[in-house]
Every structure is written in C-alpha cells, then in structure tokens.
C-alpha cells in the first residue's frame, strides 16, 4: 500500500503462505519505485530484505534470534535499527495503515471469498484490491 495515496500498489494471494512472494512478482510488473517499505516480523529475514532494491529503505523489527549473517542490506537495516531506534520505530509503525486498509476492505466487501478455484479466488481478490 502506498502511504500517500492509500492505494494498493501490488497484491498477491496464495492458498499456502503469504511468503510465496506473489506480491513481489506483481510489483515488478507495475512501473513503481519503492523509496521505503515497512513489513511485519514475519518477513524479518535477511533473504527477504535483500529482494528489495539497494535504494529502498526497509523497516522491519528483527526476530528474537536474529543474527547479522546475510547481505550488506540486512546489516545496514539492523545497524539503523540499533543506532536510531526512535526514528526507525516511528517509520515502522506507519505499517498500521496496512491493517486499517485490510480492515476497511473486509468491512466493505465481507470476510469471505465465495470462489472455489484458485485462479478465481485470486481475481476476486484483485478486484477487491482495485
């Protein structure tokens, strides 16, 4: 979700896990440059952070057992978290906009998707997102 326009930039659905990266694949098809991105603890992995461009600032809360092993981007992200924690958290908590967006969608369009086939589930979701 774009924080300025409150529009969804990319979207992906999966029957297994949200980590399947369909949203990232979608993002590549849209002409958009990410200046910064905020993600929850579920994505708190070096490999995931490395998927973003070098210029993209990633705001993420490290997991309990997080290490510095991984890419330079991951190390830089962790350094920023430690050195300027207040500013970092201030940016990170803008993430609540996503939660609010999902909540509004569900209230407006319902908590369920009345489709059986996986492709139709995806398209129905895409339409809601649009």
């Amino acid at each position: 979700m774009d924080l300025k326009t409150k529009m969804y930039i990319a979207f992906g659905s999966s029957m297994k896990s949200e980590k399947e990266d369909r949203a990232m694949m979608f993002l590549k098809t849209v002409d958009m440059k990410l200046k910064s991105v905020r993600l929850d603890k579920y994505y708190s992995e070096s490999s995931y952070v490395s998927r973003f461009d070098k210029d993209t600032a990633v705001y993420i809360i490290p997991k309990k057992d997080a290490t510095l092993n991984g890419s330079q981007k991951w190390k830089d992200t962790m350094r920023e978290f430690v050195t300027d924690t207040y500013q970092y958290l201030k940016e990170y908590y803008k993430r609540e906009n996503s939660e609010a967006g999902f909540s509004a969608d569900k209230k407006l369009f319902g908590w369920e998707i009345a489709q059986r086939r996986e492709d139709r589930v995806d398209r129905a979701q895409l339409t809601i997102e649009l």
Binding site: D2, K4, K33, R38, F102, E112, R123
Partner: protein, 102 residues
C-alpha cells in the same frame, strides 16, 4: 451489488455469469492494466510503502448441505447417547448448535 445492478439496468445477470470471466486471462490483463493506469494517474511513481498479509475464509469449499447434514448426524448421535444416560457437557453443546444452526 448484483441485485442493485439488475434493478437499475433491468438486465438479469446470474452471479455465475459474472464469476466465469474471472478465469479469463484477458480479463486479468485488463484489470491489471487498469490498476497500473490508476496508479500512474494518481502520480504514484515513487512510493513509501507498507505491506502486510491477511486471510479470508473460503466458505464455499464447505458445502452447505453436507455441513448441515453433518450437524444433524452429530445431534442424532448425541440424542442416542442421552437416551443411554451418557450425557456430557460437550454433547450438550452439539445439540445447541443443531438447534440454532443454519
């Protein structure tokens, strides 16, 4: 929404007829392009973004009739057990679901 559309336009469209194009790749392409155009029009070239995941239930996967039958069967079992004097709190709740269920 479909009901409102039918009343306003006088065109009777079954919901299945609307759902079928969901499988059409061209429809997906059209929606995708519309999405890209809206983003461009909003001037969102560079973005401060936030991301998250949420889950939706796919209730249609559970067939209503078989689900209702399942509840009825469970209630029957509980009733039989009650006759034998084996009543328990858990079984009572099963009967409750049957009484007020769909």
């Amino acid at each position: 929404m479909l009901t409102v559309f039918s009343i306003v336009s006088d065109i009777d469209v079954p919901c299945r007829a609307v759902e079928r194009p969901y499988s059409d790749p061209e429809v997906f392409l059209a929606i995708h392009n519309l999405h890209a155009l809206i983003l461009r029009k909003k001037g969102a070239r560079e973005s401060d973004a936030t991301g998250d995941g949420t889950s939706y239930s796919l209730t249609i996967k559970r067939n209503y009739e078989s689900y209702a039958q399942e509840l009825k069967d469970k209630a029957k079992e509980n009733r039989n057990d009650d006759d034998k004097g084996k009543r328990s709190a858990k079984k009572c709740s099963g009967l409750f679901v049957q009484a007020y269920g769909p």
